[in-house]
Structure formats: structure tokens, C-alpha cells
Amino acid sequence: MADPVPYMHEEAGAQPPSLSPPFRASVPRSPTKPLVHIPQTLTETTGPAGQDVWERLMGPAVNDLTKQHKGAPIGERIILSGRVLDEMKRPVAGTIVEMVQANSCGRYAHGYDQHDAPLDPNFTGVGRAITDEQGRYRFITVKPGAYPWANGRNTWRPSHIHFSLMGPAFAARLITQMYFPGDPLFPLDAIACSVPEPARHRIVCRFDPETTEPYWALSYLFDFVLRGRDATPMEN
């Protein structure tokens, strides 16, 4: 069979390096030898895909994080929506968007989190959505709080939500964090600042008055852009 059309390479100047010493935890967890370049084969251009596959793996989507418990969570309710696209701006349909976040006080429902802030019995902070034919996803949640972390003498994470996307293929995988506009902690954050300029703004969502629901919730928009592929088939 003909060789698969490869996905485009990592965009030079837009992705963080594995080793970013200001982010101290990256020092022991980055390889010391250069990566070995290989061509993309079916192994790299395939991957788990489609609503049916994701539901078999993980169960049905959970995209309203405010209705997972008996009561409503404490915090500022927000709608977060957008699209998953590739670099040619084509929608990526039927792919999973997983999210993990702290509660509105900046505390995770996780055993490692020892921050002196309350857990919310009505908020776990885990969601997942499958994109529709236009690549759209939508979550209802509460805005996560900032919290301190041990990267320096007095370092705080800006409000952020963790996202995990598989995309159409193993080669298109993306794990990232999304931040909120105007956060004074963002320019001080060693993780956000591991992304080189001028691409750093790409991990900040946009406040959208148009889709804000009156008397109910503010709305933010965020599009994910995964590695795309050239439409022209390669010669074998």
C-alpha cells in the first residue's frame, strides 16, 4: 500500500522544549540525548477515534461539571466552548476532549493536593466531550482558582484548565493547559512561559459577550489546533 500522508511536524517556535529549567520539574524529566527522527507509518497516522470507540473506552461524555453531585458547586459558573481544528482549519470530528481542573478555591480533588483550601463536595473537576461534525465541544463548569506550587519561594499557578486531546491519530496528540484572559499570574508562570513568544497567547481563552447567557453564566471560547496533514498524497 502507499505510504500514509504524514502529519505536519511540530511547529518550530510554537512548542515548548522538553527541558525548560525555570520549570524545575522538567530538569529530571527531559531526555539527555537528541530525539531520533523516523518517518510516519500507519502506527503514527492511526489512533483511537470516533464517538463509539471513546464511549467504549471511558463511558459516556460528561460535559456539565456542575451537575455531577447532589448540589451545585461553589464558584463562578462559566460556559467554555470552541472547536477542535487542524492546521488547515478543518474540523476534527469525533475526537475526545478531556479536561481536569481545580475547584473555584484552587484545590484539586486529588490526594496529592495539600493546599490549604477547601474541597467542594459538589465539584470533582473532571469532564470529557466528544466533538461533533463541526469539531465543536462545550463544557459547563466553574472558573478554577489560583493556587500556590513549589517551583520557587512564592510561586502561584494562574487559573487554568488541563486538556487532553487525541485527535485523529497518535501523531496528532495534544495535552495542554488553557488560561484566562488578563490573569496577572500568567506572565509570571514558569509553565505558561515555557511556550516561546509569540505563540504564548495561543493558550489563553477569549471572553465572549455574545455567548454569555444573561443572568446565568459568563462564556469563554477556546479553539484547539492540532497537527494537520498535507492534502496532497505522497508518492510511494
Partner: protein
């Protein structure tokens, strides 16, 4: 053209969201792969049962290993994911249209495992068949493996090959790896059982080969 969204680390608090129960058992109904010990009380994440996976065709194997930081310390909070073909050598994905090879309705080929307190992971799966390589080559049986977690700003990707596969000698991807480093990609079979050990080293003399593509 739109610019790629930059990668960021998972951070240390991903387990209750990303490491689902049964994620590391591709052929059965166990809860392997999650770390329920790290869920806050009252925030257990429910996951479906996977009884249908027991019908998977192919020879059952376990893939076990430990992840070590470049200092040699165990990486006890990493997340490993794998992707592989079925026993016939076909991927459960529309792009693999080789209809002569049967899809296995019981097998997807994707798995996830959080590492344990010693940096260990364990997958239950089947030995994959061979899939095409560049040109008219055929690849040796292998599993794609990615590592993420706190401290990893980007995923690291490697491949697992099998020590008892004679096809390794002609594998077109292994041939791109310097000879002296190829052994880091070969999972060693236990002499007594269908258990393959694949330790992952981020540094040192045994540093695992990581790929870009």
C-alpha cells in the same frame, strides 16, 4: 493556516481525570491502570465495565516496566499510553483499510496506565501483528508508547519491540536507530511466562530512544 496549540504539562493532579479504571487492561475487565488511592473521598470517577474485551483474539501478553528520571529516581506519577494493531496486524482506524485482515470487534488497541509508587506500569494486551512500513517494507511487531506527566512539557514517544521476534532484524524503523541504542527499544521476555519487561530511562547509560516524526 492556523498555528498549532502549544503543549503544556499534565501537572501532578491528573490521575482522577485521565487514568481511568481498566485503562491498562486491553483484553479484560480488571481495573488496572488507574490510581484510585489518589482520588479525594467522594470524588471517585465511575468507569464502564469491559467484559466484551475478553473475546479479544491473539496471544495474551503482559507489558511491564518502570520509568526512571534522568537522575535514576523512579517517576512515580507519570502516565503511559499505548497504541497498537490487533493480532492480525490491523489498526482499528478508518485509515487502515486493508480489508483482507480482519478487524477484531473486541479489541481497540489503546491503553493508559498511571505509574505506581515505584514508577511501575503493567498492561494486559495481545501481541500485535506486523504492519506495513515505509515503501514496501513490513515492520516487526511493535507497540507505540507515549509518556506524559508532571515535569513533561511535551509527550515523549518511543516504541516497544519484542525480544523473541526474529523480524526485528529487518524492521525499517529500528534500522534508523544507532545500533548501540537499539536494545533500549526491545522488551525482554520472561523465560517462564508471556511477560515482557520494558524499562524506560530518561537518562544514563541505558537512556531510552525517543522519537520525533
Amino acid at each position: 493556516m492556523a498555528g498549532q496549540t502549544p503543549w503544556q504539562t499534565t501537572g501532578p493532579f491528573f490521575h482522577f481525570g485521565l487514568a481511568y479504571k481498566g485503562g491498562a487492561d486491553l483484553v479484560g475487565d480488571s481495573e488496572l491502570g488507574a490510581r484510585p488511592d489518589l482520588n479525594a473521598p467522594g470524588h471517585d470517577v465511575k468507569t464502564p465495565r469491559h467484559a466484551e474485551r475478553q473475546a479479544t483474539r491473539g496471544s495474551r501478553i503482559e507489558l511491564v516496566g518502570n520509568v526512571f528520571e534522568n537522575t535514576g529516581a523512579p517517576a512515580n506519577d507519570a502516565l503511559i499510553e499505548i497504541w497498537q494493531a490487533n493480532a492480525a496486524g490491523r489498526y482499528a482506524h478508518p485509515e487502515d483499510g486493508r480489508r483482507a485482515l480482519a478487524l477484531d470487534p473486541a479489541f481497540i488497541g489503546y491503553g493508559r496506565s498511571a505509574t505506581d509508587k515505584e514508577g511501575g506500569f503493567r498492561f494486559k494486551t495481545i501481541k500485535p501483528g506486523r504492519v506495513p512500513g515505509p515503501g514496501n517494507t513490513l515492520q516487526a511487531p511493535h507497540i507505540a508508547l507515549g509518556i506524559v506527566g508532571p515535569g513533561f512539557l511535551k509527550r515523549l514517544v518511543t516504541r516497544v519491540y519484542f525480544s523473541d521476534a526474529p523480524e526485528n532484524d529487518e524492521d525499517p524503523i529500528l534500522q534508523l536507530v544507532p545500533l548501540e541504542r537499539r536494545a533500549t527499544l526491545i522488551a525482554k521476555k520472561d523465560p517462564e511466562a508471556a511477560i515482557y519487561r520494558f524499562d524506560i530511562h530518561l537518562g544514563g547509560a541505558k537512556e531510552t530512544v525517543f522519537f520525533e516524526f
